[in-house]
């Protein structure tokens, strides 16, 4: 157990302590205690930066279930550290923000909030640092759980519970698919260690399980990262408190899928399936999200769809980046890994500007009481600091210089344009789609950014629509977004701060073996590229985006524009209803509550199984060579027996039926006599008499046998089923007899015949077997009788009078 393990587990430990801190230290806001941890961890992770940027990695082992290959192994490389820094860094800011956001110590159940949040933080750290797929999966599910708990933090609200359930259902089903994918990876490589799996990538690519494993893993990544069509949970997760939305649903959890895709790119990325699925879904999510965002009226909903769209962008870049495996960098230069570079850079940028924007929206909500853009307006003069921060965040998101969003957008265009020059995977013909869709999506992105910003801060102030007296937010609420916004500016002006410290090592983890030993990726991010296509595309984005914004009034008349909810929600809601109704129907169809139906099911199953087996293996046989002679009186006995049995169902008088049953019993006793079984005959007689008496006793209290009117169909079913059972059992018995004749087996009865007197000192062999050779069975039979007797006594004596549930 190294320090790194403790670092990952530290949030969980603190989560245990939080309720005590909340209960016993009432005068201090619990968040202050919580904030220390991510801050410490952030500083701790920063120390790794020099080492990681030199290209070194850390690997610590901790056996957990070594017999199954499941270990809590921790691996720190560029990709893991980048996420670790995001999680702890933004975590610190979010906790600070939440202290001021959930300022009412009495009203808010802070102990719940911080326990969930810490649980999430620990789980997220576990996801990004785990080297073992199973450990990763466990932490992955913990993030889903913590996320649902946080979404339903105000659990008295119906929308919160709906959102929590939705996110839980979608992410956990994806997670489960991912588990199946991981299991397939284990089947192929015989290890759970990600590094060893990457080392065996060539084995995986040629395996027939490759495609199923890839699809299953991607299902996990796409559900978590809100890719089309699994993105629908994210807008509904906006019912969570804003710090949660800022942390989970913009900066960290939704990037877990991105992390997984990036982490497993070396495993799957070599194929065109991966390239097309990842980049195709990504680019479609990008445009779907940006077009949906412009329809929203709620600030958080705009941001949610914007997150979906930006995640699609990163995903598409990761997909495009996987093409780098097919090119020799020494020959073509930096061209094909620009996509990966853009993905990593935009990942960082998105976390900064989206985090700050969420916090800004939280502030606006906090200070005005609404997030509806139709009620807001003209806040610029009232909330100048908020306005400034929002301006930076929005422009960065829209991709306007000099902020960092512009740089990553330029790189995105470069990567999309590069895609058209590729000569693999049919990209010669389909590649043109990438820059076109990217460009259209960016126009919409620009438009909704401007819309969101101007409707909130520009225009006329409408105090009559607001419930509160509006004023600038307290400084505590403002610090975290200010920090993030300054990062936006810093990364925008000095992007090369990040270049070789974190971006390059991250790229090395995503694209290993692309470069020769000792080489490094060339990372140089700068604003001015000259008059190239990308620049004209950006200018086009600004122009067309403004045009869309200016013509929004006309758009508003289009019916499509008014529909805020994503149309895919219809599928989700209805499939939920259908699933429930369908299961109820299926259950009602078979669970009729009628014993006779269950008997039909059981017997039909037996008939089917036995009949199928007999036909399939053709085992039916009749062997008449080995049958004993039938004497005429036995024949008569059997005829009477059969006649009684056949008549039994037609008897309508109950006592007659009982007597007929008695007759059958007595005839069987007689058969025992004929077949030389005196003890059996004796017992049979006694038991049969007792049975008849008991029947009479019990049936006296019952009404006369009811003449039930059965439909012919019901009667026919019964007839068919009973004949079928009789036939199958008879045929089985005949075949068994023939089989035993064909394959003679030494009966063990010879042993009893020889030894019952010698060993047990008894001449009655049956009794000797019952009490000596096989005494255990007898003992348990006695026990059965005792239990039955006690049961009867209890049933008779213990009469519940009330409504006890027995």
């Amino acid at each position: 157990m190294s320090l790194l393990h403790l670092v990952i587990l530290a949030p969980f430990v603190l989560a245990i302590l939080v309720p005590f801190l909340y209960k016993y230290v009432r005068q201090v806001h619990t968040g202050w205690f919580v904030m220390i941890l991510p801050l410490t961890l952030f500083i701790y992770f920063l120390q790794f930066l020099p080492m990681i940027s030199r290209g070194e990695t850390i690997y610590e082992q901790q056996p957990w279930i070594p017999s199954l290959g499941i270990n809590f192994d921790v691996y720190v490389d560029g990709l893991g550290l980048l996420f670790g820094l995001l999680i702890t860094g933004i975590g610190t800011l979010v906790v600070l923000y939440s202290i001021y956001y959930l300022y009412n110590k009495k009203k808010e159940s802070l102990h719940n909030f911080y326990v969930y949040l810490l649980m999430f933080m620990g789980a997220m750290l576990g996801v990004v640092f785990s080297d073992n797929l199973m450990t990763l999966y466990i932490f992955w599910e913990l993030t889903s759980l913590a996320s649902s708990l946080l979404i339903a933090y105000w659990f008295h609200k119906e929308r919160s519970r709906y959102g929590a359930q939705k996110s839980m259902l979608i992410t956990v089903s994806g997670g489960f698919a991912m588990l199946a994918g991981f299991s397939l990876l284990y089947v192929m490589t015989n290890t759970f260690s990600i590094r060893e799996i990457i080392a065996q990538a060539d084995v995986i690519v040629t395996s027939p399980l490759f495609i199923p494993a890839m699809l299953l893993v991607l299902a996990g990544a796409f559900t978590k990262s809100a890719q089309f069509p699994f993105h629908i949970w994210l807008p509904d997760a906006m019912e969570a408190p804003t710090p949660v939305s800022a942390y989970l649903h913009s900066a960290t959890m939704v990037k877990a899928g991105i992390y997984l895709v990036a982490r497993l790119t070396p495993v799957f990325g070599i194929t065109q399936h991966w390239f097309w699925i990842v980049s195709g879904f990504g680019i479609f999510t990008l445009i779907w999200g940006s077009v949906s965002a412009i329809r929203q009226k709620d600030l958080k909903a705009i941001l949610a769809f914007s997150t979906i769209s930006q995640l699609g962008l990163i995903m598409a870049l990761l997909g495009l980046g996987s093409a780098a495996f097919h090119y020799d960098v020494a020959v073509v230069g930096t061209l094909y890994y620009t996509a990966t570079l853009a993905a990593v850079f935009h990942l960082i940028n998105h976390a900064t500007f989206k985090g700050s924007l969420f916090m800004i929206v939280g502030i606006v909500d906090h200070e005005t009481g609404t997030r509806d853009i139709r009620k807001l307006g003209g806040l610029m003069a009232i909330m100048p600091i908020t306005f400034t921060v929002a301006l930076i965040g929005t422009l960065s998101m829209a991709g306007v210089p000099p902020f960092n969003g512009f740089l990553s957008k330029e790189m995105f265009f470069t990567a999309a344009l590069n895609a058209t020059t590729m000569d693999i995977f049919n990209m010669q013909t389909l590649g043109i789609l990438f820059p076109v869709i990217a460009w259209i999506a960016s126009i919409f992105t620009f438009a909704y950014c401007i819309l969101m910003f101007s409707r909130t801060f520009l225009g006329k102030f409408k105090p009559e629509k607001l419930e509160k007296e509006v004023h600038e937010a307290p400084i505590g609420l403002l610090i975290p977004p200010i920090v993030l916004a300054s990062l936006v500016v810093i990364f925008g002006l000095f992007p090369n701060l990040l270049a070789y410290s974190i971006i390059e090592p991250t790229m090395a983890s995503i694209l290993p073996n692309v470069l020769a030993d000792g080489e490094r990726f060339y990372v140089n991010i700068y604003h001015w590229h000259g008059f190239n296509t990308e620049l004209f595309m950006t200018i086009g984005v600004v122009i067309f985006g403004s045009l869309i914004y200016l013509n929004l009034k006309k758009w508003a008349e289009v019916n499509w524009f008014l529909r805020e909810r994503d149309p895919l929600n219809w599928v989700y809601d209805n499939s939920l209803v259908w699933t429930v109704n369908g299961s109820i129907k299926v259950t009602n169809m078979q669970m009729t509550g009628l014993l006779r139906d269950y008997f039909v099911f059981m017997t039909v199953f037996i008939i089917g199984l036995m009949g199928y087996t007999m036909i399939k293996y053709n085992i039916f046989a009749i062997d008449l060579a080995n049958v004993a002679e039938v004497s005429p009186y036995v024949l008569i006995l059997v005829i009477v027996l059969l006649a009684t049995t056949v008549l039994l169902p037609f008897i309508s008088h109950r006592i007659t039926a009982i007597v007929a049953t008695g007759v059958i019993g007595f005839l069987i006793a007689l058969l025992f006599v004929v077949f030389r079984a005196p003890d059996l005959a004796l017992t049979q007689l006694l038991v049969e008499t007792v049975m008849v008496v008991l029947f009479l006793l019990a049936f006296y209290h019952l009404p006369e046998l009811r003449k039930e009117k059965f439909t012919p169909r019901f009667k026919l079913t019964n007839l068919v089923v009973s004949i079928g059972v009789g036939l199958v059992i008879t045929l089985t018995a005949l075949s068994a007899h023939a089989f035993s004749h064909a394959n003679p087996i030494q009966p063990i009865s010879d042993y009893f015949v020889k030894n019952s007197y010698e060993l047990a000192g008894g001449k009655n062999m049956v009794n000797v077997i019952l009490v000596d050779f096989r005494g255990l069975d007898t003992m348990l039979e006695v026990l059965v009788l005792a239990i039955a007797a006690l049961g009867i006594v209890v049933l008779i004596k213990l009469r519940m009078t009330g409504k006890e549930d027995v």
């Binding site: 008897i651 006592i655 007659t656 007929a660 007759v663 007595f666 006599v673 005196p678 004796l682 009479l696």
Partner: protein, 93 residues
């Protein structure tokens, strides 16, 4: 000779069980059935006796006794049932 006569006797007895059985089924009253059943029991005793001779064994002597007792008890129980509707009387106090 003995073998043949024993077989004939068995067949006759089996036929008599068949006849009794027809009575059990037809009725028409409950008492008819009970008496027929009683007769079945007694015929059974005869059959078992003959079977004992055929199989040359004494092992079924118990069975004969038990059938005799049971036929009696059974008939009494059924008779009581027909008479009063109950087999076992309850305590009147």
């Amino acid at each position: 000779m003995l073998e043949l006569s024993l077989t004939i006797a068995l067949i006759i007895m089996a036929l008599s069980i068949l006849v009794c059985f027809i009575r059990v089924v037809k009725g028409p009253t409950m008492s008819d059935r009970v008496v027929a059943l009683d007769t079945v029991g007694i015929t059974l005793i005869g059959i078992i006796g003959i079977v004992m001779i055929i199989q040359n064994t004494l092992a079924y002597a118990d069975v004969i006794l038990v059938i005799a007792i049971l036929a009696f008890i059974g008939s009494v129980a059924l008779a009581k049932f027909i008479e009063g509707g109950v087999v076992f009387d309850r305590d009147h106090n």
